[in-house]
Amino acid sequence: MSDIVLEGEHVSKKFKKGELYDSLRDLIPALTGKIFRKVRGHELNEKEFWALDDVSFHVRRGEAMGVIGPNGAGKSTLLKILSGIMKPTEGRFVVKGRLSALIEVGAGFHPDLTGRENVFLNGAILGMSRNEIKQKFDEIVHFSGLEEFIDTPVKRYSSGMYARLGFSVAAHINPDILLVDEVLSVGDWAFQQKCAEKMGQLMSSGATIIFISHNLRAVTNLCNRCLLLEKGKVVVTGPSEEVVKHYLDTASQTLVGASKNEVSISEVKILRDGVENSRFSAGDKIIVQVKVSSTIDCDDLALHVYLRDNNDYQVFHAYLELLQNGGFSLKKGETREFNVELSLHLAVGVYYLGVMVVNLHDVSKMHDHKFPLGKMYIEAHDAVRCVANLYPRIL
């Protein structure tokens, strides 16, 4: 199809773990080693791994594709390959049109130069001509909101100001394809909104956007399609909502290592009126029944219960040890049942329950963690949206 502007076919990238030979002195033994063991084709020797493994995709003009996945999934490597900074080990990709990559806002800013000078420098680095920058200069500065400080060396900027100026320059390149890596995480909330708006504008003017982010809400808002990467492989592609949902459903399974744990959450039930259920109305009282068992004697345990919404935002987190004046202990082979009552003062939507057993004194020491444990659909026929339900009434 002619309106495909970005296409990858079986793109793979191999990386080496550990140190590369860094000085000439180390090179000679390394080279002699190479002669004796040759690795060919899609094979790895023990020090190598695939950062990207057989990744294929295509993006149409005017489309925004999100790339999500856990840390180390290969998202940034994919961007670097698309932007031409790295070459794929195998496979090929086609880029049609002017491509700009925003891998780090303000990369290339020089601390000793003023904001004004850096706009020209950064603009040129990102591929704008001098005249283009001159024309857009006022617009760029206005967008960043840094009019007052534009003649101050950027080394005196706060990191937020730095990022704002960086994004402002990048947002005014008007590329055919824009690659964006986690830039919306900078700046304050108002600026993030501005950035999202600007990206929307770029898209409606026909630009194609590849957006990498951990902010699943931003991804679903901006992108119609999404690609889920895990350990270098494409797990699923499709409409953003579905892919994000798939990610939330599967990502949690990797967190749970239940069988090996000595203390484990053996059973969780969500009950309403004594019956298991997944559909609730706003204001319902439910009981979360958790069974924790242990294969050893263990003290100082604490149970935490939390809820996340559809966009992976944590909307509720309860430290139950604070309710019962301290943690609990388990004897070898003992199973304890907890019944936690929750009042669902929530707005319409889908929520995911999470349960974890942690050390009483150190929350980062986790014994077991399960998320998501079933969906909870909250139904309501009122005017409340978002998360919290404060039961509005007109008096």
């Binding site: 030979y21 860094d22 000439l24 031409g84 900074i85 070459k87 891998i103 990369a107 040129a124």
Partner: protein
């Protein structure tokens, strides 16, 4: 393939100019000496050269004359240019790791820009020296037309070397220390404080250093009012073209690996 690289480089000329401008600007920003900085290193080398010449004149019994001082000055300037450019170019990729690993554009801009930002210093120092020599009454001749030719050969050589060394220093961290040592002691293996012919039988060996024919050539046409030795100039030009001819393709070949090795 290769013409693509060149076309991309030509398309990026504005970026090139702005990087040169940045390098110059940063050097002169917040510095005590300002533009005196451009002539600081040449003055140091010239002073050392005059001292050496004086010592030679004491040993040989011949008095130190103006042309000796002129010779040392004329040779010191391009040598300072060479040292500055190579040092700067070698570190040009390491000093811009953020740009090298995060943004795609022709990376050879860095070593080339290093040479040209040092050219700026060289021009300032060169104009200063030209004025001094003119006042001292060194005179002019038709052979001065050789000067730009010789400088172009030198610049080509420095760009080629700069590309090789900047790429190498990304992969091997000891390259920049090796270069530092070579540049420090290189002055003894280059006819700056002495003339190649003083070495007699060994003068050929010293002229094999591709910088040597340039310095001798500049001395010949500016101070001695005669043409440079064509054989050695051709030799130097060939070496320069070879260095660039090897350096540029090698640089482009390694470029995709830069982001990984940083």
């Amino acid at each position: 393939m290769f013409s693509d690289h060149l076309r991309e480089l030509i398309r990026s000329r504005e970026l090139f100019l702005i990087i040169v401008w940045r390098d110059i600007k940063i050097k002169y920003k917040q510095s005590i000496m300002g533009f005196l900085w451009a002539i600081f290193m040449p003055i140091m080398i010239i002073s050392a050269g005059i001292l050496v010449k004086y010592a030679m004149s004491v040993v040989s019994g011949k008095p130190l004359v103006l042309s000796d001082v002129s010779t040392v000055s004329v040779k010191s300037l391009p040598w300072a240019f060479f040292v500055g450019s190579i040092r700067f170019a070698t570190n040009s990729l390491l000093g811009n790791t953020n740009l090298v690993s995060k943004i795609h554009f022709p990376k050879e801009i860095f070593p080339i820009a290093s040479v040209f930002s040092n050219l700026f210093d060289f021009v300032i120092a060169g104009v200063t020296l030209a004025l001094i020599l003119a006042i001292a009454g060194i005179g002019v001749s038709i052979y001065l037309l050789w000067v730009p030719v010789l400088l172009i050969i030198l610049i080509v050589q420095m760009i080629g070397l700069g590309m090789l060394l900047s790429a190498a220093s990304l992969f091997f961290r000891d390259v920049k220390y090796i270069v530092e040592v070579l540049l420090t002691f290189g002055i003894f293996f280059t006819p700056v404080f002495y003339e190649a012919e003083m070495l007699g039988r060994w003068s050929t060996a010293i002229m094999l250093n591709p910088v040597a024919p340039i310095l001798e050539g500049l001395n010949a046409c500016i101070v001695l009012h005669q043409g440079p030795d064509p054989v050695w100039i051709i030799y130097s030009a060939v070496v320069s073209c070879l260095v660039l001819g090897i350096g540029y393709p090698a640089f482009k070949k390694l470029e995709p690996l830069f982001a990984e090795s940083i």
